[in-house]
Point group: C2
């Protein structure tokens, strides 16, 4: 049910990063459900985590460990099949014990291991089976392990998601590669979005953190399937510093802009890949809101449209039901919105202007653009010069089927 082209594999290896997977029978036998990312000594990492108050145990532990090692972790430990969320104190101990076990095998402090879990919520993590799988994962560590790791972090994803970028700094090639999983709901529980991006760039920790925050804000914080923020969302950006260019230290360094542009493009590619694989998705939809007074109000309008069940079912039906879009814009809570200035277009066809159907609009033109797999809904608010874009999917029969009928 995925929409559009799959990710382009193989990914580029990143100097200082090795990845290994194993089958640990976390939930079901035979599945590749354990992934280890090894980072060279001195690698700096920044993290972005769910804001859900019910954040999962591994999220809490990953944040604590990342702070304890001053942003220099050595290993990322990922399991699928169990989210270790809603598991209370026992879940916290399970996350810590998993880290300690891997740390001992690898000869690093326990706090140098960051844990990530995705899968069923509310069941205790089977620590013994996870730990038993660690030697296999370590034995499999490989610079070219990105592709198999992208598969290893999948749950109900229908295809692996990854992206690479190459740039040149000081005449030296610098690589960025990343993998992501999730969005949509997983059976029987919730979407858990995980993303791991690494680069061999040499970059100061504060700049790395700022770059991650900007990249996430423009990518993963701009997608929605259903508005249901997961308990396990986590994203890590690691920089090994193995590339031989002069270190990025100055926020005004023009090379930083080159780096951030590549990073931003890579994040958007991963975030869009997640939406293209959203459960039940038959459409990939960009909601572009322009002419706002602030980015916040543009995003609010974009999310109101992107999360409206009415708009999403109309998208599934390829139905140019512009009234539903107008109604969603109108209820987004924009103060003093002058509806007579609002214009709405679908993939370049203007459908509404001055608060009513555009005089030049024809149902045939609307039907034509709505039939495509990739659709852009553009809303011009006519009150300022700020814009924002959100990406989403449609609401299909399969969405309900996947999230209602199955319970594994």
């Amino acid at each position: 049910m995925a929409v559009g082209a799959p990710s382009h594999f193989p990914l580029e290896p990143v100097a200082g990063v090795r990845l290994g997977t194993a089958r640990a029978s976390i939930r079901k036998p035979g599945r590749r459900d354990l992934v280890v990312l090894e980072l060279a000594p001195g690698t700096r990492a920044a993290g972005s985590f769910t804001r859900n108050a019910f954040c999962a145990a591994p999220v809490t532990v990953a944040k604590e460990h990342l702070a304890a090692v001053a942003g220099e972790p050595r290993l990322l430990l990922v399991n699928t099949g169990n989210a270790n969320a809603g598991t209370g104190e026992q879940g916290m101990r399970a996350a810590q014990e998993s880290c300690a076990a891997l740390a001992q095998l690898a000869g690093v402090p326990a706090q140098a291991v960051l844990p990530f879990s995705t899968g069923v919520i509310g069941e205790q993590l089977p620590v013994e089976r996870l730990v038993a799988g660690l030697p296999d994962a370590l034995a499999a560590l490989d610079e070219n392990g990105w592709d198999i790791a992208a598969e290893g972090i999948m749950t109900t994803d229908t295809r692996p998601k990854g992206a690479s970028r190459r740039i040149v700094l000081d005449g030296v090639p610098v690589t960025l590669s990343g993998i992501a999983k999730g969005a949509g709901m997983i059976k029987p529980d919730m979407a858990t979005m995980l993303c791991f991006v690494a680069t061999d760039a040499r970059i100061a920790q504060p700049l790395l953190e700022a770059a991650l925050a900007r990249a996430v804000d423009a990518s993963f914080n701009a997608i929605t399937v259903d508005g249901d923020t997961s308990t396990n969302d986590a994203c890590i950006l690691a920089a090994t510093g193995m590339a031989a260019h002069v270190e990025l230290l100055d926020p005004a360094d023009p090379r930083l802009a080159v780096f951030e542009e590549a990073l931003g493009a890579l994040f958007i590619e991963l975030a869009q890949a997640v939406i293209r694989d959203a459960e039940g998705a038959t459409k990939f939809v960009a909601v572009e809101v322009s002419g706002g007074l602030s980015r916040e109000e543009c995003r609010r309008v974009a999310y109101a449209v992107a999360e409206s069940p009415l708009v999403k079912t109309a998208l599934f039906a390829s139905d140019p039901n512009w009234g539903r879009i107008l109604a969603a814009v109108g209820r987004a809570g924009v103060a003093d919105l002058d509806v007579s200035r609002v214009e709405v277009s679908i993939s370049g066809v203007r459908i509404a202007s001055r608060g009513a159907r555009d005089p030049a609009y024809t149902e045939e033109a609307g039907q034509r653009v709505m039939s495509a797999e990739d659709i852009t809904i553009s809303v011009a608010l006519g009150r300022g010069d700020v814009a924002a874009t959100v990406w989403t999917s449609d609401l299909s029969h399969d969405y309900v089927r996947i999230n209602a009928e199955y319970r594994s």
Copy 2:
């Protein structure tokens, strides 16, 4: 697909109120699509209208007319089949012309007529056909016309919705009757909720307005099917003053509490009837949030749960998927929520406590309560003593089918 028992008809007549319907072929021939409510001279009315910025032309005109006659309208004019929304200047003229035509026939000022429309959005109102139907509607005016009017305002509703209450003030019987339509989406457009309630009570205008605001807040402002506020929502409370009790003038009058209690119960009955008939609904769900610091944060949590596609699909599947409920609570944006104090129960069965599955919970007990048609989700936040309740329906295959596959 409606859930639970239908409304109890016939409704009680209200002295000073007559209702008539007609078939005007607004959208399709043969349908009862025109309703007129006649109010005796001196009737005071209060209105509550959609906050959607794209409010429909009749909403704008009804608000203007109600103010122009100082809260004393004489006729309510309702059509189905066409929402007269997203119709620009022409739509405004159509609403005004409809009022003027009815006013002329009835011998009242045009501003004494309040217009209400529900149905397809973005198509111009067929004023000529509407006006041609007015004589039939006037000829049919009857004190016992409530039941047929409840049918006349239906669009995709599967059954009419009405309720009556009798109270005694100063030894005099006082009647309250009301009808409502909508919620869920109408094909191919959006939910439009209309509600008309009348009483023969004698009550001062400010008290009437305050009573309406309180009743709506606790009923129609506490239901959600999909979060999609309509462009046409409107609710009118009219008091004819024909009952012979001493007029309610003092906000501290204990008789006012008696009146408001009956009014509140009637509104809740109508609002719940709307949810019980929500498109595709197979469950009627109350989300009760207690232990909050403010009503606003309780409502925010209740709406996050009630509008979560994950929770709604789990309800459809009769799946006690408490992790989805916890996740929705966690993302509701309650500042400094201590998840270790949160408790969740479903219809009296405690499923989660201290941020994890309750030790005493069994899947069998959860399955049993989730299989019922009527379900109560109780969330105790453990941080204050304020509570709020929201009513909602589930997200079913039929919801998607109705809103995606059909376009009439």
